[in-house]
Structures are given as C-alpha cells and as structure tokens.
Subunit: 309 residues, 2 copies
C-alpha cells in the first residue's frame, strides 16, 4: 500500500506540537500533525492559566481551543490517531499508527508531551475511576462534600487543591519531602480556602476500600509510623512521564526518560528527528516554554529540509 | 543616597522581559522592571503577527499592550527609564539609570532586546528622518505614491514590502545574497502586490539627495558595476544588534555581540545574572521563543535566590 509522503510529521497536539504546526505551515512544508486529542495535559488543568502571555486569565481548555483554531487556519493535514512506531528507512522516516495507517516523512518533530505518573502502590489500579483520579478538572465535581487526598505537594498538587476546594469538604495534601514545593502564590491561595491540610514527610503506602476508595495509608517518614486518612477520593499529582513508547533507539533519553534534544533547535541524535515540549529535557514545563520550543523545532526542521535537498 | 533593594531587576519591556516579570511576580519576588518603553521592536512590526499561538492575527502593538496589561495586574515595580550601567558589589548588583537613579538587586535578568542594525554607508546618517527609516510601521504612510527601496531580503524586508505596498507606487528590495531569505509565505504575499522588484547580489554603496533622499547607489556583485535607483525612501531591514551597552565584563559575547546564556536557564557567566530574548544567543528571534526564554530565566532566578539565601 502506498503511504502518504510528507516533508514533516509532527507527533502531538499540545502547545509544542501546535506551535510547530503553525510555523511549519507558514514555511509551506507539506506537514501532517498526528494526535489523539487537541486537549492533552494542559486542557485537564483545573485552575485558570494566568502566566501565558497575552491572556490575563484563561482555562487550559479555552487556550488550547484557540491554539487548535489557529492551527486549522493553515494548510496542514491532521490525523486523529496515536503513533505506534517510528522507524527509519534510509534517510526517511516511516510512521505507523495504532490503526495500522502508515505515513512517510523526511523529518519528524516529536511533541507528544507527558502522561500523569502513577503512584505504583497497592490499590491504585483497582480503584481507577472508583476514587482514584489523575484529572481534577475531569473528576473534581464528583466529590461534592467529601474528603479527599491529593498526592504531591508541587504546583500541580496545590492547584488541584484550589480547584477541589470549590466542591469538597476537606483536602489533605501528602508531600513526600519535608516541605511543599509549590509556588508561594499557590500555597497562599490554597491556605485561604480553609480546607487544606498539608502533611509533609509522608509516603503513600496503600489505597483501600470496598467498591470505592474509603481509606489511604501512608508512612510518616519521621516517626516511621503508618497512619490512615479516611477519604473517598485520591488525586494523583506527582508529575508526569514523557510519552515516548513509539520511539526507541532513534533518540537518547536522560534519567527522567525525557528525550535528549539540543535546546537551541530540538535536534536529537538522529538527523531529521526533532523533539519539543514536555517530552524533552527542557527542565521547566510551562505552556509558553513548550510553545517556544515548538517554534524552534519547526524552524530547525525547515532549515534541515532545505539543506538535505 | 539609599537606593531601593530588589530580589530581581529585569531590564527590558519586550516579550522576554514582560514574561519574566509575570513569572517573577507570581513567585513573590520583589521585582523591578526597567524599560524605556513597552513598545519595543515588536510593536514597530508593520504586518500582522500570525504566529504567536493564541492569536490568529494581531498587530505587534496590540499584542504588546495585552502583555503590558497582564504584567501590571501583578505586584511589580516599574521604572520607565534606560539602564546606563550594571556593576557588581560583592554578591549584589547595582543598576544605574540614564537619569542617575540607583537600584540594588540580588539578581538581574537582561532582556533588553536588540536595535535595528545600521547600514554604515555614506548618506545614511545625514538622511535619517529625511528618507532613511528603520521603522516601516512608523514612517510608511509618509511615502504615498512614491518609489522606495528596502535594504534586506529576509522576512523583515519582505514584511516591510507587504506593508509599504498599501502606500507606495514601487518597491525595490535589495538583497546582498544570491537569493531572498524570507519565508515562502512572505515572498508570495509580496509578489501578489505587483509592486515589488527583488534585486539580488546587490550591495548598497551610498545614499544621495538634496534635502531629501533622491537616489541610492548599489554594486551589482556579479557584474561589479555600480547601478542607481531613483527612490525617495530607504527602509533599512538588515537585522538588529543586541542592546548591551550597559553590561561589559559581567557576561561573554558571541560573534554576533549577543550575550552568551545557558539555553535551559538563561544563566550567564556571572552567578545571579541571567539573559533572555533577542539580546542573547538563542538563534531564532520570535515573540513566542523570547517569551519562553523569559519564563525560563525568571524560574531560574527564583531558584538561584532560594539557594543563595
């Protein structure tokens, strides 16, 4: 079966992928963007985004819809699908999707982002959808008047708490370290809700319940005692893991399993293969940073294509 | 005279500086932003901006006003001034302005951008404001029905041509190289105006006139002949030079006179001194890239301040 041939295939429809798509289309590259969804991580964000320049306050979903609309004004092919495998064939790339579609490309930008990192404790998998959630914006309203625990005391955890405070009666935040790592602004906002109790030096051990979650056990890392919290919801906010299952030996990974990419251009170790956004080793994960990296990768891909003619 | 003491002073009010300001304020850093203007390079852009994600089409001025409004929602001091000198005093920095005001800071982000690069040919200085311009958005409307030349065949030159086509009768673009470097999109748009003639392999030699510009001489680099164009306007679009006169041995410079900064964090060779945006050595100069670098520098400055307590 003859597969379609592109100058550039972009994998991912978040801030980095969409920005790369806008730039590539303006460079008149024959471009395909493959993504499962245009929502992605950022659209699941529960609190308003107030640090993307140009928008005083917006929801992740609204912002990403603006990005998507802007992308679609351009001449670019879009395939709603997930990528299963990327292979090299001589100087070209072959991209296989989950539905066994095949595409060819002279260059690729991997902007597939990251998925929530699981806790990997007993009870977690069993209670997914029955009290265990990785998405406050999706599931928060189900917990009106209930007690919940958030695992993780970084910005994501505190933002989850601020959002959940509109629904729930009581929020515990369990933080593994000796102090919460969230921004001062987020800590202040969470404090003002009057519903948040932060428990530091706490390592979650187990999630228990009958049909639904009813209890979480954690170790107090100072006293070494196991303690229990009676909660009906567990929100996991301990970071994310890069979505890279479809690309193996074509790139190098760092200790966080992020793709190693040149920070000026997004170049990986394979010529013609670029990475941008939360999937790569840029340390600070922010919408505006990911968008900037997407622009860099598209410009670099365009230069690569001109020079490899 | 006791000078005010800040956690962070940001020099510059363009996309990088403003984004850094938003991020720093959200980190509750005591921050001062010093800038001559919130307009800057981007506000002088003559054509619509269509590649900043979130805005399908906007003017540089409108976009920068949105940035400025968003910044001012935060707790941050703003000094409308230009910086004359940055000195180190122990671990701290002293910032002197053009009006001899003095500020102290524990950290600095230089985001002062770049100024238009001059041609440095005879006649240029004499005819500034009398036919020689570095700002199409400012001066374009003065040339209704006239013939003009744009020096530089990159994106800036072609965007200038697209904008000027609304006013002028005829536009020459002089490009030093053997072909124009602008995006295909910009070349197509300029071509469609029917008013643009691109002259490649052309080196400008001299600008002539009486009270106002009337003629430009250039060398045809292939035939080595000097040729003349009868024009009343000369728009200079040959790039920019980083605005770094106030900082000397505290940073290293590359061959383009850009500040050498770590691309992950904006760190320079001096601890506590960061750079972001068009003033540094990130190769592609774009609003969204500069904004992303501003965010990185502010986060890195915040971490630096925590660790140097």
């Amino acid at each position: 079966m003859a597969s379609e041939f592109y100058d550039l295939v972009i994998v991912g429809g978040g801030p980095a992928g969409i920005t790369a798509g806008i730039y590539a289309a303006r460079q008149r590259l024959k471009t395909l963007l493959i993504t499962k969804t245009f929502a992605g991580q950022i659209a699941r964000k529960a609190v308003a985004i107030e640090n993307y320049p140009g928008f005083e306050s917006t929801s992740g979903l609204d912002l990403m819809q603006k990005f998507e609309t802007q992308l679609k004004k351009h001449k670019i092919d879009i395939e709603m699908n997930s990528v299963k495998e990327i292979r090299k064939n001589g100087k070209e790339f072959i991209i296989l999707t989950a539905t066994r579609k095949e595409f060819q490309a002279r260059s690729i930008i991997i902007a597939s982002g990251a998925d929530p990192r699981p806790l990997e404790v007993p009870g977690e998998k069993e209670f997914i959808g029955k009290g265990v959630s990785y998405c406050v914006a999706c599931d928060g309203p189900l917990y009106v008047g209930k007690k919940v625990v958030i695992i993780g005391g970084g910005n994501a955890g505190f933002e989850a708490a601020i959002s959940l405070s509109h629904y729930v009666e009581k929020i515990y935040i369990l933080e593994h370290g000796s102090e919460a790592k969230a921004d001062k602004e987020n800590q202040e906002k969470a404090g003002k809700t009057g519903k948040v109790e932060v428990i530091t030096s706490a390592a979650i051990e187990k999630i228990e319940g009958e049909n639904f979650v009813s209890k979480v056990l954690y170790q107090d890392l100072k006293s070494k005692e196991t303690k229990a919290l009676n909660v009906e919801g567990v929100f996991v906010e301990i970071g994310s893991q890069p979505a890279t299952s479809f690309v193996k030996d074509l790139v190098d990974f760092n200790e966080k399993d992020e793709i190693v990419a040149d920070p000026y251009t997004g170049k990986t170790k394979t010529p013609g293969l670029f990475a941008a956004g939360d999937v790569d080793n840029v340390p600070y994960k922010q919408v505006v940073i990911a968008a900037g990296e997407g622009a860099k990768a598209a410009i670099a891909a365009s230069i690569y294509l001109q020079n490899s003619n």
